[in-house]
């Protein structure tokens, strides 16, 4: 069991994450009904306001607070209790992040920031919204540096040794996050804030979008890497085996530092201000991310096969039936991984230059991020929640909670299959994203899109409703395990942090030489961004005034 003070820190982070989850999923429910023309909002509430809240609260706030809760617990467990300075800075980071969250959320609720989660200029929110975003990022940096400080103390006391896998992966994720945030901080501080407060009249739209996506794509990996940490470090322990390969796990993580950042242009493939060469280069670099992703897939299947064979599984796939399907900690994460197969494949399609033409700005993209961050990441976090909160609170994870957990995971899966399949198919037909209900002036082509059994707003709404029910079950489990479930007194009732053993005896030391990876990452970023960014600044078009379309 980790120190009480560290547990409190982690629990506060997870608590805030689930408050954001509650409001964010409610926003999702309202959206599917509005798009189905089954719900009319009151005059003071706007579709785009709800859409912004849904995106920001789930994709940014829920994920980030949960990730820090997970990191804090794992770092305290694998490297030992935090020192007073680490603890202090972790709290400062938490409060600054929370202050930013509250400011940004208040502006969305006040109707001053319906600029959607990507906050593309020239849509202009209140300046305080951008200040909130900046504080949010700065807060995460403070929390990150606190964890780096904890790691450095451990390294000093354990000279020449590789750090435990969990700590290594945490530091990898943090390095990537800090580099990635430079883009969004630059655009928010130097472009959006002066513009939103009226200190400058116009904004360079293309530059702001480019700096946003410098951050926006690695943000995806900031969600995904903690989920991968659970897959690499937690799952083998649940299955009763060691980490498949310590070197492979570490190598795949450092490759993410290299290849998750210099790739933002694949989100901007339809934009005129960037020449095809630079777009193509970044598409190639994007495809490099497939390498560590498939290394992870291989490693997971190998872990399953070794565990299944250990339990008596025979033949080519006999091991599959020998996995602990009744263990909700495993089943949840397994389903999360399964969703990532079409999710990852969809990502390759999105990034494939011409194929991007087919799916760009369509509902396909919405379907895509619901089966990447919305399920593989979110459901992995759900699977972690089932034991992480009881571990931190010292409460039991009772039988009824286990049954509810299973119901929650199954309903989430069913809801997501319905909603996301409908979104993918509608997107392929041409249905746009980011729009409220539209009758398309009864145009026959548009009407045809929504005629199928799956390509239907009703299917999407049913899926969304099931997802909301699932989310509420999860909130119930969170409240119970945080405050109400009986305390675990007997050792058999104590919930443990399942952290697998990882054989580091053959792991090369250079994998933990951060300067190699940071140096290579900077080099790749310079190659991919230096020239196109300098062109963008030197040949900047006239800036745009702000627009408030809501």
């Amino acid at each position: 069991m980790i120190a009480v003070q560290d547990r409190k820190l982690a629990l506060w982070n997870i608590g805030v994450a689930y408050v954001a989850f509650l409001i964010g999923t409610l926003g999702g429910l309202l959206q599917v009904f509005i798009r189905n023309d089954a719900l009319q909002l009151p005059a003071w509430l706007d579709y785009y306001q709800i859409l912004t809240a849904h995106g920001v609260l789930l994709a940014l706030i829920f994920t980030t607070f949960f990730i820090f809760g997970f990191f804090i617990t794992g770092m305290s467990k694998s490297l030992g209790s935090f020192g007073p300075k680490v603890r202090l800075f972790s709290w400062v980071g938490f409060w600054v992040t929370l202050l930013g969250t509250v400011m940004a959320t208040a502006m969305i609720i006040a109707g001053e920031a319906s600029v959607l989660y990507t906050f593309y200029a020239p849509l202009k929110a209140s300046g305080f919204y951008y200040v909130g975003l900046a504080l949010f990022i700065i807060g995460t940096w403070i929390s990150s540096f606190a964890l780096v400080g904890h790691y450095r103390v451990w390294r000093k006391n354990n000279k020449g040794q590789l750090s435990p896998l969990f700590a290594f992966m945490t530091i990898t994720t943090i390095i990537m996050w800090i580099i990635a945030c430079l883009g969004v901080v630059a655009t928010v501080v130097f472009q959006y804030i002066p513009w939103a407060f009226g200190w400058t009249d116009t904004i360079d739209v293309e530059l702001s979008r480019t700096l946003f996506w410098f951050f926006g794509h690695p943000l995806v990996y900031f969600w995904l890497l903690p989920a991968y940490m659970a897959w690499y470090v937690i799952v083998p322990k649940i299955l009763g085996v060691k980490v498949f390969s310590d070197s492979l796990a570490r190598l795949s993580f450092v490759l993410f530092i290299l290849f998750s950042i210099p790739v933002g242009f694949h989100h901007q493939l339809t934009e005129p201000g960037i020449s095809n060469f630079w777009k193509f280069l970044q598409v190639v670099l994007t495809f490099m991310v497939i390498v560590p992703s498939l290394m992870t897939a291989f490693s997971m299947f190998a872990t399953f096969e070794i565990a299944g064979r250990k339990n008596g599984g025979k033949g080519l796939f006999g091991w599959f039936t020998k996995l602990p399907w009744k263990d909700i900690r495993f089943t949840s994460i397994f389903i999360a991984m399964a969703f990532f197969i079409p999710g990852g494949a969809g990502g390759i399609i999105n990034a494939s230059f011409q194929l991007n033409e087919v799916v760009h700005n369509t509902l396909w993209i919405v379907g895509h991020f619901h089966i990447t961050v919305g399920t593989p990441v979110a459901m992995t976090f759900m699977g972690l929640t089932f034991w992480l909160i009881p571990y931190l609170t010292g409460r039991k994870f009772t039988k009824s909670m286990k049954v509810l957990g299973l119901v929650q995971i199954i309903t989430w899966s069913i809801g997501m299959v319905l909603m996301s399949t409908a979104q993918h198919l509608l997107g392929l037909l041409g249905a746009p994203r980011r729009t409220a209900y539209s009758g398309y002036n009864d145009h026959p082509s548009a009407m045809d899109w929504f005629d199928g059994l799956l390509t239907n707003h009703v299917t999407m709404a049913i899926g969304g409703s099931i997802l909301f029910v699932s989310a509420m079950i999860l909130i119930y489990i969170v409240v119970m395990t945080m405050f109400l479930s009986p305390k675990a007194v007997e050792p058999k009732d104590m919930v443990d942090f399942p952290m697998a053993e990882s054989d580091m005896s053959r792991t090369p030391k250079w994998l933990e030489n951060w300067w190699i990876w940071i140096g290579l990452a900077v080099l790749l970023i310079l190659i991919a961004y230096a020239i196109p960014l300098s062109h963008m600044i030197q040949h900047a078009p006239p800036g745009s005034e702000g627009f408030k379309t809501w």
């Binding site: 498939l294 190998a302 096969e305 080519l316 079409p342 494949a345 399609i349 011409q354 194929l355 392929l428």
Partner: protein, 40 residues
């Protein structure tokens, strides 16, 4: 030269086939959208 004692290699045939299936799903989805792109 010292002979390192190694544990027997685990049987990972199922893993090999599984990753091929993942690869196949990627290729099938990609080709499907590519054909849609060409058809338009």
């Amino acid at each position: 030269m010292s002979q390192e004692s190694r544990e027997p290699e685990p049987n990972l045939k199922g893993t090999l086939v599984s990753v091929f299936i993942v690869g196949l799903i990627i290729v099938v989805m990609w080709v499907a959208v590519y054909l849609l792109y060409v058809a338009r």
